[in-house]
């Protein structure tokens, strides 16, 4: 009897054991399921990456093509503007003012108009015995030059005084006279023929009046300042009615225009 009961007990315990194993299995499966669902929320199954419409390559290509096109358009625009400026100048024509002159400076040295190529010139014709107009105009000219010297981005202007009274105005006297107005002012004179030639080139009228008992006289002459560009070409003129600021502004504008026409770059 004891053998049977012990057998029975063994079977029971065995059954119990198997049931425990099965519950264990079940638990384990649950855990894997749970793990699976957790994974699912963070890492979805990834599809193979597809090529989009905008890529770095297409952006670069568009940039290069667009940039090139824009540069070309800008170049065309510049060309057109340059042609317009040239055309305007051609239509206005060139005044038959200015040209070659040969005069003498205060140290007795001969100076020709070619010596001044590469410089902007502001030329005034007058005489040292001039009662009021010449001194006023020369003061104005000195003020214009001072004004231009102060602005750094504009080229220097050489102010020149040319005497229309060569008989009285020797090189030395002209030099002394000019230094009264500005150390920058260059005085030129010469023989009667030299002065007459320079005046003719600039269409300057001059006529000495009758001499009085002291053999003093007044020379009537054109009161105009001439602006000459670095190529030695006449650009503009300024009469008595223009003040120093107006003249300086006009000179700056003329310099800008000249710069536009003589720029040696693409843009």
């Amino acid at each position: 009897m004891s053998g049977v009961s012990s057998n029975f007990l063994r079977i029971i315990s065995k059954k119990f054991q198997t049931s425990r194993v099965s519950t264990n299995l079940l638990e384990r499966r649950n855990i894997t399921l749970l793990n699976y669902t957790r994974n699912c929320s963070t890492k979805p199954p990834q599809p193979k990456p597809q090529k989009g419409f905008v890529t770095w390559k297409s952006v670069a290509t568009t940039g290069i093509l667009g940039g090139g096109f824009l540069a070309f358009m800008l170049y065309l625009k510049k060309e057109k503007e340059f042609a317009q400026v040239q055309e305007r100048q051609r239509m206005l024509g060139k005044a038959a003012i200015g040209g070659y002159f040969e005069l003498v400076d205060s140290s007795g040295k001969t100076r020709t108009s070619q010596d001044f190529h590469g410089n902007w010139l502001l030329i005034y014709f007058g005489f040292t015995h001039c009662p009021d107009i010449c001194p006023d105009e020369l003061e104005k000219m000195a003020a214009v030059v001072d004004n231009l010297d102060k602005s750094e981005d504009t080229p220097k202007v050489q102010p020149i005084f040319i005497s229309v009274d060569p008989n009285r105005d020797t090189p030395e006297i002209v030099g002394k006279y000019c230094s009264e107005f500005s150390p920058r002012l260059l005085g030129l004179t010469g023989t009667e023929q030299q002065v007459a030639k320079a005046c003719k080139a600039y269409r300057v009228y001059f006529s000495a009046g009758p001499k009085d008992k002291d053999s003093d006289y007044i020379v009537d002459h054109t009161i105009i300042m001439y602006l000459v560009d670095p190529d030695g070409e006449f650009v503009d003129y300024y009469g008595q009615t223009r003040n120093s600021e107006e003249i300086a502004d006009s000179i700056k504008i003329n310099m800008l225009k000249y710069g536009q026409l003589h720029k040696k770059s693409w843009f």
Binding site: H129, P135, R168, D216, I218
Partner: protein, 82 residues
């Protein structure tokens, strides 16, 4: 023959301006001997060269003419229109 220096010029212009001021004040066209501006005229003539005096005298009459035209207008000379 040297030119009048900057100083000589300003002395001359100063004397001229004083003389002109006197003429304006007294309503005179030019200085009369023994008149109020005779003394100014003398200083003016001493300070400026004869040529300059001549020049400034002419300039004054021109400026007065210009002023008259600008403020009072001008009359048309009927004889010149015919």
């Amino acid at each position: 023959m040297s030119f009048p220096t900057r100083e000589e010029r300003s002395v001359c212009w100063g004397a001229r301006d004083k003389y002109w001021e006197c003429l304006d004040k007294n309503g005179e066209k030019e200085a009369v001997t023994g008149g109020p501006c005779a003394e100014f005229r003398k200083i003016y003539e001493k300070s400026c060269s004869a040529q300059w005096v001549k020049h400034f005298d002419r300039k004054r009459s021109y400026l007065q003419f210009k002023h008259k035209i600008e403020t009072e207008g001008y009359e048309i000379n009927k004889n010149s229109l015919r």
